[in-house]
Symmetry: C2
Subunit: 375 residues, 2 copies
């Protein structure tokens, strides 16, 4: 971290607002905690970079022991490779001629594993391998109850495994699943049911594939809420949580992150005081997004640490409307606040730059280099 600390040492309140702040001490703590989950269970951690979208943070995750990073889109992979990350899982179907060309261009630059869940997707990855003259590692994505993507029938998994084995440009490494319904779990019991289904789906398929003679070395599962539970389930070799690196009110609501460990905040300024119990800040949905549900602590669309009397009641595109409890009615125009958002991934995806902060000082400004890389 010397490189980072050598940089500028301005205070956060010298930044123009709204500005996204990343507390590095909290990030390091979050990274260490999830790495410990993987280490204690003797499995790999491959964090999803869709949350931070910054090679700087991917490098911190790798230095702490991550085996590589996960990305959703080729554009994110390109940004991560550009930023020096050399081991990537693209957990997304590769479809379309331009995508095949782009994958082929990336294959010589890093160790890439790519997800396949259809014959079209398989042929696309194979074609990229052929173009690059390189064998591509693939995981078959299976659905474990989320009803998004992924193969649903055992016989279809076997059929595609045979097709992959017969393809000269593909190497089957294993299975991948994402039980996104864990985000809708109302309580721990429901979350554990989800996790059990997730783990059992891939365990049964792994057994069946091994019985058929396939070598399965990777079984990848786990989101931020489910990873601590799924990590200990038999057969799982890798977890792919993303949001844990920062945490947000959505994860706090799910019981998956502690409020005091939320590492990403938005620095905002009070721009209007239209009434005693109302204030307006200079950030709305174009900073916070409209993602997710209200704060679990009754403070609306955000939470100002230590100040539960401030509720972010509603937003328009560039305005955030605060309701102030009596003890907060001294709030003045020009005052700055830090707000923990509902969904940190969406906040990062709206900003071009963040301030890496340590003990109230900006130690470096980072470009969000994979922001908007949806292709």
């Amino acid at each position: 971290m010397e490189r980072v600390e050598a940089a500028c040492m301005i205070q956060t309140n010298e930044l123009d607002t709204p500005f996204v702040l990343i507390d590095l001490d909290l990030v390091m703590g979050n990274i260490a905690s999830m790495q410990a989950v993987a280490d204690q269970n003797g499995i790999k951690l491959r964090p999803h970079a869709k949350t931070h979208k910054m090679p700087e943070i991917a490098r911190l995750q790798m230095e702490a022991g991550a085996s590589g990073v996960t990305v959703a889109k080729l554009g994110e992979a390109e940004a991560m490779i550009e930023g020096g990350i050399r081991n990537l899982l693209i957990a997304y179907p590769i479809i379309g001629p331009r995508k095949i060309e782009r994958l082929a261009e990336l294959l010589p630059k890093a160790h890439l594993t790519v997800v396949v869940e259809s014959y079209d997707g398989m042929k696309a990855v194979s074609e990229a391998g052929r173009m690059a003259g390189l064998t591509v590692s693939v995981l078959i994505e299976v659905d474990s109850g989320f009803n998004r993507v992924g193969i649903t029938q055992e016989e279809d998994v076997l059929a595609i495994a045979r097709a992959i084995a017969a393809d000269p440009w593909l190497k089957l490494e294993g299975l991948l699943t994402f039980a996104g319904q864990s985000y809708d779990a109302g309580d721990t019991e429901e979350l554990l049911r989800t996790v059990k289904l997730e783990a059992e789906t891939v365990r049964e398929l792994t057994e069946r594939l091994r019985k058929e003679g396939f070598e399965i070395t990777v079984v990848s599962a786990g989101s931020t809420p489910s990873s601590p539970h799924v990590a200990g389930m038999p057969g799982i070799t890798e977890i792919r949580p993303g949001t844990y690196v920062f945490g947000d009110l959505m994860q706090v609501k799910l019981g998956a992150h502690k409020l005091e460990h939320c590492a990403l905040t938005v620095k905002v300024t009070v721009i209007s005081r239209p009434a005693e119990d109302r204030a307006v800040i200079d950030a709305g949905t174009k900073v916070f997004s409209s993602d997710g549900e209200d704060s679990p602590i009754g403070t609306g669309r955000g939470y100002v640490p230590g100040r539960p009397g401030i509720t972010l009641e509603w937003m328009t595109e560039e305005h955030g409307m605060l309701r102030l409890a009596p003890e907060e009615q001294g709030l003045k125009i020009g005052e700055q606040l830090e707000v923990i958002p509902v969904h940190c991934c969406a906040v990062v995806n709206l900003t071009d730059q963040v301030a890496a902060v340590r003990q109230g000082h900006v130690v470096e400004l980072w470009k969000v280099s994979a922001r908007g890389k949806v292709r």
Copy 2:
């Protein structure tokens, strides 16, 4: 438009997806329609650039007769000035030392009008004027029932008008209001009640200010849904609609835009066919945002023109889940679709580039140069 048409002439289906497309013929029609509303009522049109965030489109609006453009943030003003726009209204309080410096830097570069709705905001604009050595045109923002920003009490409007008049760096031009509650109007009758309140609020205040000897030349009001109604109300001199330039399902739902005039679509690719009646596209909330409500025609979070059998049921960050009616179940992996979004402003705010399209051909790629300019 020759400049544009001279450029590349690739077809839209040669673009990698997801890609935001702007149909220029529809944009020109939308621009002409709203200009006609202003012209027929003998008032000015100052379109809000927060929707398109592109000087290229602001120039089309100016060429069609707009008096200038409106922006929400200084960063948007900077991008518009950089793109050649020389008449701007910053419809947002200027608060904070860095904002004052930035406003001072812009003042010599364009004719800027700035909104004031507090003493702190007034002092900030005055200080910027002093730094630049230029008098700044200001509008007092008043609240007409939206409960966001804006002065609520008549005596406070008068007091700030007197303070502005006494300030050597400020010139009071008039009043501004935004009746955003027009977006929540359930029917035309409710919308008309909103519009009446909007117009009456500023008319009464204008009369009172004139009685006190203030010269009021600008009375600015009107959103996309309310502009066609408020334009004819007595005393209004300017409307500031934004979304009309593209239109989206939110405006269609409000009855403020015709479905067939929606000019912005997202080109997407089918990446998975997990079941006969389900398909997945390569765009989710990181392309479409989570803004707004479902489609008014029962097609969920988007609408594929002419294909009501395709429903965008739900989204995750990078996946859009389609439900397919029987007649759409031939949809194949790799096929492309164009989707009209729920909220076009949010879609533009998530993309770095759009394709300007005419009759299915890409005539130019435009950078969304004011994207993410929230400061």
